[in-house]
Amino acid sequence: MSLLEVQELRTGYGALPVLQGISFSVEEGETCVIFGLNGAGKTTTVNCLAGVLPTWGGEVRFDGKKVSGKDAPGIVKAGIALSPEGRRVWAGLTVLKNLELGAWVRKDAKGIQASIEQVFSYFPRLEERKDQLAGTLSGGEQQMLAIGRAIMCKPRLLMIDEASLGLSPKLAQTVFQVVSQINDDGTTVIIVEQNVGVLPYADQALIMEKGTLTFDGRGAELEASGELRKTYLGESEQPA
């Protein structure tokens, strides 16, 4: 049994359908990357999984239990956390308060303290700036904080939306390496990305187009298949 099983998932905004019924599953302990152009439905997918968007149809099972239909707090309690698109850190609170509040659903004071230490070990920059207001951090540091805040929920499945958006290639690589380390430490990861630099870290890769999945396979297969070039560069079947 896979950790996450998505069956014919449909959702959208208002009356506008976006996901046309997508199905995929993610194995425990793996990193799954969702590629796709803007507007392909990647963010919609993770927002729906996180309970921010209502499920119109289909079913999501997490660890064998149905989680579709739960609201965002219910999903967090089930063990799925999302670091949202655009970071969305609490600008007027300090770095430390951002992390502490991230642990809202947890009651184990010692465990929470350990998680803070863990986040600081992943991102030493956050420890240096722990008393600074989050709004004064650079974009890269805010991304680190957004991921750190999601880790504070102690999720079994961590979803990161647009981890590298607006970051320098070097900083993006740093973030990817930390994510891979988080994965090695036992957390299953879904990353939404446009940056192909994440590919070496992907066990599984999905490509989305117009609200449907056009590729679902191993990361290594994707590299060999040329599907990514087709998606991003619009190469036709004929040789150029």
Partner: protein, 313 residues
């Protein structure tokens, strides 16, 4: 002039100082404490919803009218004041919760200005309901504690006045501690900054919003009972007309996001208002007690928009 003639003159001057400065400062501080209490509720909702709540004055009125109804009986056995006051504050909390559920939540994703106008609508509705039930003439509510704490010369400090200042100080300190020390207080701030991200860590955003409005109703209710018990007639909309603008000015003057600022701002506004009323002749500035408040508001916005204790504008 002979030296003998000087003596009565100095006595006269001393008396003048007391009636023109000392008395207004003390009685103004007491009036201002009520503005500060109402201002606390405004600051709370500004911090959490980023709006100015025009209905805050009527949350207060609802509490005062309910307390009056409880003590007057209206055919039922008359209640002891304490029970009537608890009933009054509860009524204000219920009205605030209903406002949150019926007005604020449906407009959650609308522009803030829509919500602000909706609170003005809520205030008008409440004023109309108060008039419908209690009539337009107004009623008189007894003070919480009758009697005087101090009388000397022209100065009179009522027990109620002392009580108001103490209640304001305690509530300002408690609410400030609530925001800086408790997880729930921090969560209220988090909701105001990033509602979606806040729900993503498992914080129940809707319940937090209801809690915030309930608290605002509680603060407003306490303010209303204390204001109405200070003497004068309580009519429909009286608090909106006479206390909401000074309370708003107090909140801005103190720093719109600062709870201790609302306390300080309220007391200072009360003092400035009373000093203005006593010392500016009616022939120079009519209704000086109203005019000085707008003057302070204007000066604050021009010179220090962040207010006395505020960190942001």
């Amino acid at each position: 002039m002979t030296p003998l003639a000087l003596a009565p003159d100095t006595t006269y001057l001393a008396f003048e100082f007391s009636s023109r400065i000392t008395t207004p400062v003390i009685s103004g501080a007491i009036n201002g404490a009520v503005y500060g209490l109402l201002g606390l509720g405004l600051v709370l909702l500004y911090k959490s919803n980023r709006i100015f709540n025009f209905a805050q004055g009527e949350f207060a009125s609802v509490a005062a009218f309910t307390t009056y109804a409880g003590t007057a009986g209206f055919g039922l056995p008359k209640m002891p004041y304490v029970f009537a006051a608890i009933l009054g504050v509860s009524a204000a909390v219920v009205v605030a919760l209903l406002t949150e559920r019926l007005v604020v939540q449906p407009l959650f994703n609308q522009p803030k200005v829509t919500l602000v106008v909706a609170t003005a609508g809520t205030a008008l509705l409440l004023i109309a309901l108060e008039g419908f039930v209690f009539g337009a003439e107004g009623v008189g509510l007894d003070p919480v504690i009758a009697g005087d704490a101090l009388t000397s010369g022209g100065l009179r400090v009522t027990n109620q006045g002392v009580f108001v200042v103490v209640v304001l100080a305690v509530l300002a300190a408690l609410t400030a501690l609530f925001f800086s020390r408790t997880k729930t207080g921090t969560a209220i701030l988090a909701v105001s900054m990033e509602p979606t991200a806040t729900s993503l860590v498992g914080i129940p955003v809707k319940r937090i919003s209801a809690l915030t409005w309930g608290l605002a109703g509680l603060l407003g209710g306490v303010a209303g009972i204390l204001f109405a018990g200070n003497g004068g007639l309580l009519g429909p909309g009286a608090l909106t007309a006479f206390a909401l603008i000074p309370a708003f000015t107090a909140a801005v003057f103190g720093g719109i996001t600062s709870l201790p600022g609302a306390f300080l701002g309220g007391v200072l506004i009360g003092i400035i208002q009373t000093l203005g009323a006593r010392n500016i002749p009616e022939s120079v500035v009519p209704d000086a007690n109203q005019v000085v408040i707008f003057f302070v508001l204007l000066l604050t916005l021009l010179i220090r928009p962040a207010g006395l204790l505020g960190k942001e504008t």
